[in-house]
Structures are given as C-alpha cells and as structure tokens.
C-alpha cells in the first residue's frame, strides 16, 4: 500500500488507460479491437505520440508549445510541394520535413530563449505564422502520388517509432542534457546557479522536438498521400491533453517523462476512437475528452487537499 501511495502519480495513468480499454471493450462488445479498427487507432496515435514525446522536451523545462500542429502542417506542405515540383525519391521528403520543422523551431527557440519571451506567446505566434504560410503557398489541399505508399509500411514505421521513442527516453532520463532540461523546469534559478548553461539546454530541446515533428510529418504524408491546408490543426491541444492525462505537470520539472506522453496519447486516442465506434457523435467525444481533462487537472491541482497523494 505504501508503494502504491508513493508511486500513485506513476501508476494512475496506467490504471486510467486500463480502465478506458476495459470500459470501451465492454460497451463495444470487443469491436474496438477488431483488426481493422486497431490499425485505425495505431494510425491516429502514431503522429500524436511522436509530437507529444517531442513536446515533452519543451514542457519539461517549463516551456510551452502551441505551434506544434502548425509546424507539422507546414513541414508537410512545403516538402510535398517541393516533391511535386521536381522528380526525386520520396525519401527526400523525410529530410525536407525535418529541415522545415527545424527552421521553424530554431526561430521560435532563439526568440524564446535569447529574447526571453514567454514560450506560450512565441509558440502561439508561430502557429499563426505557419498556418498563414501554408494557406498562402498551397491554394488548397495537395495530392501526393502513389509512390508515397512505400513509406506506409508498419514494419518501417514501428522500427522508426521504437528507435525514436527509445532515443527520446534515453535523452530525457539517462543523459546529463535530459536531467538539466528537467532541472530547469523544476527551478530555473537553482539550475543556473548549479552551473547549467540554461540557454544551450533549452535550445537543444527545440532541436529534438523539431526532428520528431519532421519525422511524424513525413509518415503522415506517406499514409494519407495528401496534405490538407488544415493538417495538424488542433494537434497542439491533443498534445497538452495527452501530457496531462499521462500524469505530467504542464509546468515541467523532474517528474516529466516520456512515459507520460506515450500513455497520455494512447488514452486520448482510444477515447476519441472508442467513442465514435460505440456510436457517440464526434461532437460529444470532444465534450467527453474535455470533461476527463478537467477532472484530471482538478485532481492534479487539488491532490494535496484530497490527501490521497503524498505531498
């Protein structure tokens, strides 16, 4: 019991995930895990997992990212248009996506870190800028040729996912950079006075999220074979909800974890998909997710008063 009390913050998201799975299984009579739908869920989760894990690096040092959906959309649109403009291998689109995302994140990172503006504001601006560029340059959705289905292979996607998530885990939890990044979220003054080069660490976090967002963009292009002008809109909210449901504080700090981003994404995506499968209209599924989010937030902020979790 003592163990459960002490680790409640780690255990609860797993319990939540299990509860969501069981409830949906019972209500849907098993149909949410039918092979066809399972690959649907995986498809929908794939992108958001990569984005959430990337953004974890920003949230953990006390940052904020409202631009992730916009940058994701822009990287796809720009590399898609360049691809259509010349004849080349589809694999060129991968570094292109990463490059576009990197440029956006570095601009945002330098403005946030060096000019010391709140990440909330700079990322909000970046979101608008990206969305603006996308609609201006594209004049509508673009369709990609069938060659892109070469990248739509679950073998490749799973291998890439394991490498990226494993790499992110090691970076955040098992390296000096990861510890420093989380220490900044915990107490920036103490982190600086402990000899951490705060600006460098924060900028590096922007580079990491940029890579993950770029990769996510490429694989979305492969599986959808189309880029919509609105692609990625609202993903920044999915990421926030996922991180919180995963049991992480939006203020960052030592408790931040890659695990939280993964579990959280699965909960959000299962809920979204499951609610549709059991016949709840998609407008109501937003309502349910909002309500769940509110309950978790309440619990997170008031847990001391509830006396359930240790202080």
């Amino acid at each position: 019991m003592e163990f459960i009390r002490k680790n409640a913050r780690t255990i609860l998201p797993f319990v939540g995930l299990a509860a969501v799975i069981i409830i949906l299984l019972i209500i849907s009579g098993g149909s949410i895990f039918a092979p066809g739908n399972l690959s649907n869920i995986l498809d929908q989760s794939y992108t958001v997992v990569l984005l959430s894990v990337g953004c974890t690096f920003l949230y953990s040092h006390g940052g904020f990212d409202l631009a992730v959906g916009g940058i994701y959309g822009l990287s796809m649109m720009v590399s898609g248009m360049i691809y259509l403009g010349g004849s080349m291998s589809i694999w060129v689109a991968l570094p292109l996506c990463i490059l576009v995302s990197l440029v956006c994140y570095l601009i945002m990172g330098v403005v946030t870190v060096k000019l010391q503006l709140p990440a909330f504001i700079t990322s909000l601006c970046m979101q608008f800028i990206c969305r603006g560029i996308v609609t201006t340059i594209s004049k509508g959705n673009i369709n990609l040729p069938g060659e892109f289905s070469a990248g739509d292979s679950w073998v490749i996607k799973i291998i890439v996912l394991v490498i990226l998530l494993g790499g992110a885990y090691i970076l955040l939890h098992r390296t000096a950079f990861g510890k420093n990044n989380r220490a900044i979220g915990e107490n920036p003054v103490a982190a600086r006075q402990s000899g951490i080069n705060i600006d460098k660490v924060r900028l590096l976090a922007y580079v990491i999220v940029a890579v993950l967002v770029g990769v996510a963009g490429f694989f979305s292009m492969c599986s959808a074979r189309t880029v919509a002008t609105l692609a990625g809109s609202g993903f920044e909210m999915d990421v926030i909800v996922a991180i919180v449901l995963g049991g992480m504080s939006l203020n960052g700090g030592m408790d931040s974890s890659v695990r939280a981003a993964i579990i959280g994404t699965l909960i959000v995506k299962l809920l979204e998909n499951g609610l549709v499968i059991i016949g709840v209209s998609s407008t109501w599924s937003d309502f349910v997710i909002g309500a769940v989010f509110l309950i978790v937030i309440l619990f997170n902020y008031k847990r001391n008063k509830l006396g359930f979790l240790p202080r």
């Binding site: 098992r174 390296t175 000096a176 220490a183 915990e186 006075q193 402990s194």
Partner: protein, 498 residues
C-alpha cells in the same frame, strides 16, 4: 497571574516516514516569553505551525485557555487570538504597506462599497508608530522596503488583531539591532499585559537575555523546560545535542597563513548599484571572511564572483585568466556558490536529495554519453555519509528535510563537484548549533586541503572565528581589512561597519 494560555497534550505529527513530533506536552502560561530551541528537525517549527493552524496534528489535543482548540487554518487561529510571524517572507509584493497591513480587513474602512484609503493609511501609520517603526511610510509600495521593514510590516499586521499569543519563528536572525529591539519590546509589552509569546531562535544569548523560560526540543521530543535561573549555555547546548559538545566550535588555531597564489581576482568592479570600485584577491588555501551590514554590497560581491550578475565595469578572473561571466563557466572551473536564499535559489525543493546533489556533476559521472543509476547513487551516498545528512534514503524529496540538512545537501553538491573555490553567502543562516559546528569543521578541512573559501556573513563571530583574513565593507567599499589574530573583537569590527 500565571493562568494557562495554551496547553498541548501528546501531540504527534508525522510527515511521511519522518516523525516530526512524538507525543509532545507543552504549556504556555500568561505573562510568559517562552524560548523554544532545538536543532533543525527537532520539531520546534512544527509544534508552532500546529498551534497557529498551519497544519493539523495526527493525534493529541490542544486547549486554548482551557477550552478545546482546533484551528482549521491560520486565519481561524488568528481569530482565536494566536498569531505567528514566519521565518520567511510573509508580505504580499507590489501593493502598498497599508494594504498589506489590512489585507482581508478592508471591510473595516469600507463605506457604501468604497474603501476609505485615507482612513486606512492613517490607521496603518498609527500601528507602525506604536510598534516603534514610525519611519515606515504606510503609503509606500512594499517593494521599496528592505527585508527588515517588510518583516516589521508583517508584525504590524499580526499585532492589529491584538493576539493573546504571539509566535515569533526565527525572525530575528535576519534583522538588524533596531528590528530586534522592536521585537524584544513587543515581547516585553505582551508579557506585562498577561499575554504569551513563543520565541523560536537559534541564538542562545538572545534567548537567555529576553525569555522568561526556555523549552528544549530534540528529535520531536520535549527534553526539558528551564527557568530563567537554570539557563546556562553549556547545559542548553548539551540538552539540544543530546551529548556534551566535544571539540572546537570554530577553528582553534591562529595561524592565518595561506599561499601567495591568487585563484580569483575582482578588479575595479562597478555594478551600478552598491559597488563603485571594488577590488578583491582570493588566495589558494585561504578563508576570506567578508562582513558588514546586510545592505553594504557584500552579497553582491558573492553573486558577481560566481557570474550570476555581470559588472558594468571591471572584471572577475580566475587564475588561468578565465572571465567569470556566467555561473556555468564558474562551475566548469570548479567554483561553487551557496546562496543565502537556499530554498529559492539553491535547491530544487520538490526534487530528491540525489537529484540536487548530482546537478553540477552530471558531466563528471557520464560514461559513454549516459548516466548510470549506480554512479549517481554512489555520488549521492558519498556526500550523505561525508556530511551525515539525516534522511531515510537519498531518493527522498529535499523539502522533507530540516533546514540544516537542506544546507548539507547544497554543501554536498559542491563537495561532490570537487570545488576548488567555494563562495558561501550566509551558509549557516537558520542552521542549528550541531550542524553549524560540523560546517565550520568542514570549511576548515577544505582550507587545509588547499581549497579557497569566501565566507560572506552577517554574523561577525563566525567571520572572526573562521577567517584567515577579514574584509569589512561599508556602502559598497572596503572599510577595513584584518589578518587573523586573537585581538580582533566584534566591537572593533562594528566600528568599521557603521
């Protein structure tokens, strides 16, 4: 005359696995100024927090003037006549002094929904006047006041309710003589009115001079209560520590020698505020004490030497010519710094002991680009043993530790980082005698190993007791410099301070 004001019976309070209070019986009678003393973690702040409604207790009962008393929170306790002045800052920033004094009581001056600010200002002025701090302008913004005056504003707020019991939690440590005198007078006044004061302090002289009785706590147990006649320093110290104090308190030698080699130099520093043209040289194997009044610029010297702030003119250089412009450059060259605001600036308070200790040394324990739990644990355990940090495990959050043990964690961080130069800004502030003694031994040990220490302190006794060389500062300038000798007294140094 001596009727009972508050009685606590068999109070038990645990914080997780830490037993803060183990069945404490405590009685305060009217007219008493009761000193409360004990090492950090002895439970003196905890018992006061329970009486003033900040925490509830796990078991036990409280009686206020014979009636059962269960304060729900601080406001409730204040209504029932128990007020507490906290160790840390308790004023609200960026509003006026009078707003701070009457916060939550604006209704007293409200007519038809409009607050009569002039009446409020006048009333605030009167309270401050009564307190003996009439020079504080009730109309000034609280941010323009120094720490001491803000503390006095907090006291004024507490006194407006006319409490029967006033708890003063280590407030005097950070105050000048004037602030202290105001508190002492207040205590005497309350005592003569048949009210009661609980006075927590680490300063034995202060307690012996001003308290009518003294209660000693140790490890959550009430050890003894002494009358004024029984108070005697060596007895109190042995009651607190639970054994006779052995060895020296400060270092015992008067050999103030150190190497000629300069390891850190500050030249013609101008910071636009306190320091105009400040020069300093720190030598290898030297303990350099810097003393002065709290506003004299000595704390800024420490911050500049570590690169936290940049001088507008002048330079801070290490032996190899490195310019110390950022803390990370300093730590890379094995310089460590302990801030006087430990909880805000040094520690990650909700992170674990291990995470706090290893922070500057992560690069040192990285192997093949990775951190291994085994190495992290070894580093933290080594410091825990070396400094005998009182904890259950190194994976326990730092906030569960007492003040002295928190400070040990900060020391451990820099010793673990093999610091060659340590800049200590009030390292023993709010630390009890037992831990203080071990810190002095440690600082002396570091000197003998050839390390250099800058010891900035508001406690002259500590500077005289420890330093090879003493610098006294006044208004941002060096007003006196002394080599270690037996002849130096506090009186002599104070002349250079004011």
């Amino acid at each position: 005359m001596s009727s009972e004001l508050i009685r606590a019976e068999k109070i038990v309070k645990n914080f997780g696995l830490t037993k803060a209070l183990q069945g404490v019986d405590f009685t305060l009678n009217s007219g008493e100024i009761r000193g409360l003393i004990g090492e950090n973690g002895s439970g003196k702040s905890t018992i006061c927090s329970i009486i003033s409604g900040i925490y509830g207790c796990d078991s036990g009962e409280l009686f206020l003037k014979g009636e059962p008393y269960k304060p729900v929170n601080m406001v409730d306790a204040q209504k029932k006549g128990v007020a507490m002045i906290m160790q840390e800052m308790g004023t609200i920033s960026s509003i006026k002094v009078c707003d701070n004094i009457f916060i939550g009581k604006e209704a007293l001056f409200t007519k038809n929904g409009v607050v009569n600010r002039r009446a409020m200002r006048k009333a605030a002025g009167k309270i401050l006047e009564d307190l003996g701090a009439g020079d504080i302008d009730p109309w000034a913004s609280i941010d323009t006041l120094n720490f001491e005056n803000r503390k006095l504003v907090e006291i004024a707020r507490a006194m407006y309710d006319d409490p029967d019991i006033l708890i003063v939690d280590e407030t005097t440590t950070a105050l000048s003589q004037r602030g202290r005198d105001i508190i002492y007078q207040l205590c005497d006044r309350m005592s003569s009115q048949g009210k009661g004061v609980i006075f927590i302090s680490h300063d034995l002289d202060e307690i012996m001079e001003h308290c009518t009785a003294l209660t000693v706590l140790r490890d959550g147990v009430l050890i003894d209560t002494l009358d004024k006649e029984q108070m005697e320093p060596s007895l109190i110290k042995s009651l607190m520590v639970g054994r006779e104090m052995v060895g020296d308190y400060y270092r015992s030698d008067y050999d103030g020698s150190y190497s000629e080699e300069v390891v850190l130099s500050m030249k013609e520093i101008y910071d636009g505020r306190e320091l105009k043209n400040f020069n300093l040289e720190l030598h290898k194997g030297e303990i350099l004490g810097i003393g002065g009044l709290s506003e004299c610029g000595m704390h800024e010297v420490g911050r500049l030497a570590f690169g936290i702030e940049k001088p507008l003119r002048g330079s801070v250089k290490l032996a190899d010519g490195t310019d110390v412009s950022q803390p990370y450059i300093a730590t890379r060259h094995r310089v460590g710094y302990i801030s006087k605001n430990r909880d805000q600036e040094s520690l990650m308070i909700t992170a674990t002991i291990l995470e706090n200790i290893e922070l500057p040394s992560l690069k040192d324990i990285t192997r093949h680009g990775l951190l291994f739990r085994k190495d992290e644990k070894a580093l933290a355990e080594e410091q825990r043993k070396l400094l005998s940090i009182k904890c259950n495990t190194v994976d326990q959050p730092v906030k569960s530790l007492s003040g002295g043990n928190k400070q040990k964690v900060v020391f451990g961080r820099w010793i673990g980082n093999k610091s060659e130069i340590l800049i200590l800004d009030c390292p023993t502030r709010g630390v009890d005698i037992g831990v203080k003694q071990s810190m002095y031994q440690l600082i002396y040990q570091l000197k003998k190993e050839g390390k250099s220490v800058i010891l900035i302190s508001e406690e002259l006794a500590e500077i005289i007791g420890m330093s090879d060389r003493i610098i006294i500062m006044k208004d941002g300038e060096v007003s006196g410099e002394f080599a270690r000798s037996e002849e130096i007294t506090e009186h002599k140094l104070i002349e250079y301070m004011i």
